[in-house]
């Protein structure tokens, strides 16, 4: 089953797999949202939107509609890249 960032629960981590959806802003790539990098969901705002993430050491918030475009693989344990 395919997972996206918006499927993460609070405190869960994943590895970014696919970011080829053209609606993903270039800015996210530049912030380190690239395949192979780790993403952690730190916090939700009310109504689960926006999402507060730690991507590759960058702390940032994105809206749910963007998070749904970024495919990930969930991980249980911390992996250092």
């Amino acid at each position: 089953m395919k997972h996206t960032i918006s499927d993460l629960k609070r405190g869960e981590k994943g590895i970014i797999k696919d970011i080829s959806n053209p609606a993903i802003p270039l800015k996210l790539y530049e912030m380190g949202c690239l395949p192979g990098n780790e993403v952690e969901l730190i916090q939700f705002a009310p109504f689960r939107d926006p999402l507060y993430l730690n991507i590759n050491g960058s702390h940032l918030a994105i809206r749910k509609q963007t998070a749904e475009l970024i495919e990930i693989e969930k991980i249980e344990n911390h992996i250092t890249l």
């Binding site: 970011i19 080829s20 053209p22 802003p25 270039l26 800015k27 996210l28 790539y29 530049e30 912030m31 380190g32 690239l34 395949p35 730190i42 916090q43 705002a45 009310p46 109504f47 939107d49 926006p50 507060y52 590759n56 050491g57 960058s58 702390h59 940032l60 918030a61 994105i62 809206r63 963007t66 250092t80």
Partner: protein, 698 residues
């Protein structure tokens, strides 16, 4: 004048770039605008050793050279245009040691433009606490540059940075990353087509959003000699480029950057858990709002009164000291009150910017944006619209200036357009006097009718702001794509120097910018009120003396009647008479008409104007109120009754009658289009609502 070294200060947001700028230039800085756009241009002079000076240009913060906003566009336009007078001799890239990886992305891009580049690694004072160690020498070798490891907060190593700037000619201009590996064939074609151009520069020109970059695209128009790519292909290549750059950065940092992950976790996660919590987070935000309100309403009262008294004293003094005549009157009744009308805003504006800059410096603002975004988005606003809408209850002017933080132009424009609906402090004196006249005393469930009426007007303002945002969101079309990526910076203790400079600069920019317009309109209003076209105006004294000669009245009384008669026959009085047919259906007479016209200078003028017209003795509110209460229409009915009172309240709640706000909207949107739309639609709406209210209630 000796030649100055031109330095461009570039960096990601939240890297302490402004602190570095302040450390280099001190108070030798000025803030202006880039020609044609409202992006702030900050420049300053830095004294280097051996008597040489550097001109420092603090460019807007950007994450990369792929511009997504007007601010970021300034950076790329400058760096791609060698003929620009500000084109830097040397670029100084400011990076935050804790986010070095991400910060280096921009560095590698600028380096590839073959501009001499110095890397400043800032916030060195936080390294130890976060278990970070850096091999500077190796890093310098791999990045092909010189590095200054500074702490702009503590002021350490700034001298080293100055030395590096002084000796910029020794820096290598060799690129770090070869971007052409992402599609060798394509780039070979480019190279063949434009043998004299830097490949990376060409690539940037090709990939930038057409909406933004005004560069000479003819450069790459002739596509016969190389294959073109579709937009989505280009984006895929940009993605690939980003990966290539990060690969390079990862390799560099693997050897030079060590972080001990066992080092104690910082305050961040603890504070985030509270400040971004769905209950505590909102509670904290609410508390901070209360504090800001309190400051703006009560703390600024003392300085505001002081300014008011000083200016009225000054006007009196000039009237008494200078020989009487038109010139003295112009100074005492036009220019001084005009300047006073600007200066009076300073305490409120300064307090507001003090709080806003503290919230921004600490990193708290991003958390508010995060909390409020979803709620605000339902109305076409952004999480970032919260601050302006709150500030608007003090004064729309600083509130509109505060919208500059909103990157998305559409969300920013909507915020600017709806902010004037919130009940600003200038409406308060008008509301208070009318409510006390037309709303009956008495209570319901322990709350007085009058207090409820006042509260309803505040709520009405907010509802109108949000409702019109919703409508504008449906109407407005913009070409910019909307996205929301907000960095959550580390929490920091604000630096006094940074805040002081911000408050000073913003306040100054208001006083000089909007001030010019307020002052000139005040002078015009004064002229219109003190001059008249007919004999009736010039001979007012004679006519009035004639009229009252049989009655035994004091000289003072006579002067008052003369003043009232003069006003009636002045240009502005004629104006009031002329618009009377228009405002009659709303329940107003020509005197209220004059007050409305002069309210355009500032709403609070309403009370003062009526005071002059009704020629009462003092500005004491009760006296005016009693006089207003007994004012009768020609047909014998009272001027101020429930119907006309409500109609007037609604008119003031909705009408755009503040020229200072219009001036600032013009400044912020850089066009008369939006302030005109505001003026016409808000005032038109106010008219319709006031008309309906009066016709129903009368």
């Amino acid at each position: 004048m000796s030649k100055q070294i031109k330095v461009a200060l570039i960096g990601n947001p939240n890297t302490g770039k402004t602190s570095v700028f302040n450390a280099l230039t001190g108070l030798n800085q000025k803030v202006g605008n880039y020609p044609g756009i409202t992006v702030e241009k900050k420049e300053g002079i830095c004294k280097l050793p051996r008597g040489i000076k550097a001109h420092i240009l603090d460019l807007p913060g950007t994450y990369s050279l792929n511009a997504t906003s007007l601010d970021e566009n300034v950076v790329i336009e400058l760096l791609l245009n060698k003929n620009d007078k500000d084109f830097p001799d040397v670029a100084v890239i400011v990076a935050d040691v804790e986010n070095l990886k991400r910060n280096l992305l921009l560095y590698t891009q600028i380096k590839d433009l073959e501009i001499p580049t110095i890397l400043v690694v800032n916030m060195a004072d936080r390294m130890e606490r976060h278990g970070i160690s850096l091999d500077i020498e190796l890093l310098e070798a791999q990045l092909k540059t010189k590095i200054a490891l500074v702490s702009s907060r503590k002021g350490t190593n700034i001298e080293h940075l100055k030395d590096l700037i002084l000796n910029y000619k020794n820096l290598s201009t060799e690129p770090c990353v070869n971007a052409s590996v992402i599609d060798q064939e394509y780039f070979d074609g480019l190279k063949k087509a434009f043998p004299n151009q830097s490949i990376y520069k060409l690539w940037l020109v090709i990939t930038q959003d057409v909406n933004f970059v005004k560069l000479d695209r003819n450069l790459v128009k002739d596509t016969s000699s190389f294959s073109t790519k579709s937009r989505s292909d280009l984006k895929r290549m940009q993605q690939k480029e980003t990966i290539v750059r990060y690969q390079f950065i990862n390799n560099v940092l693997k050897e030079t950057f060590k972080k001990d992950i066992n080092a104690a976790k910082d305050l961040r996660s603890v504070l985030d858990r509270i400040l971004m919590h769905k209950v505590y987070g909102f509670a904290t935000f609410f508390f901070i709002l209360l504090l800001i309100f309190q400051a703006i309403y009560s703390w600024s009262e003392v300085p505001t009164n002081l300014i008011e008294n000083t200016f009225s004293f000054l006007a009196e003094w000039i009237k008494e000291t200078l020989p009487s005549g038109a010139f003295t009157n112009l100074i005492a009744e036009g220019i001084i009150p005009g300047i006073g009308g600007i200066v009076i805003f300073i305490p409120q504006i300064a307090f507001l910017f003090l709080f806003i800059s503290i919230l921004e410096e600490t990193g708290y603002m991003s958390r508010v944006v995060f909390l409020m975004d979803k709620i605000m988005r339902r109305f076409g606003l952004s999480g970032k619209s919260v601050v302006p809408l709150i500030s608007g209850t003090a004064c729309a002017i600083p509130a509109i200036m505060a919208t500059r933080n909103i990157e998305n132009w559409k969300e920013r424009l909507i915020t600017i357009l709806v902010t004037p609906f919130t009940t600003c402090s200038a409406r308060l004196p008008v509301y208070l006097i009318i409510i006390s006249m037309v709303i009956p005393q008495g209570t319901i469930l322990g709350l007085s009718y009058q207090a409820l009426a006042l509260m309803s007007l505040y709520i009405l303002g907010f509802i109108m702001a949000v409702a019109s945002a919703y409508i504008l969101n449906k109407i407005l079309r913009t070409k910019t794509r909307s996205f929301f990526v907000v960095e959550m910076p580390n929490y920091k203790i604000p630096l006094f120097k940074n805040i002081a400079i911000t408050v000073f600069e913003k306040t100054k920019s208001f006083v000089l910018g909007a001030g010019k317009i307020i002052l000139s309109l005040s002078i015009i209003l004064w002229f219109l009120a003190t001059n008249g076209p007919t004999d009736k105006f010039t001979n007012a004294e004679k006519i009035i003396t004639e009229k009252y000669k049989d009655q035994n009245i004091s000289k003072e009384e006579l002067n008052k009647h003369t003043g009232a008669y003069q006003l009636e026959n002045s240009y502005i009085g004629i104006c009031g008479k002329t618009i009377e047919p228009i405002i009659r259906p709303l329940g107003y007479d020509w005197k209220i008409g004059i007050a409305i016209v002069s309210s355009f200078a500032a709403r609070e003028v309403f009370v003062g104007t009526l005071a002059t017209i009704y020629s009462v003795e003092s500005d004491d509110e009760n006296t005016i109120k009693n006089r207003m209460k007994s004012e009768l229409m020609p047909d014998g009915t009272k001027v101020f009754n429930l119907a006309s009172g409500i109609s007037l309240l609604l008119f003031y709640a909705f009408a755009m009658q503040c020229m200072s706000t219009l001036a600032i909207v013009k400044k912020e949107t850089n066009s008369w289009k939006w302030p005109s739309i505001q003026l016409i639609s808000m005032t038109g709406f106010a008219y319709v609502v006031a008309f309906i209210a009066f016709q129903i209630l009368k």
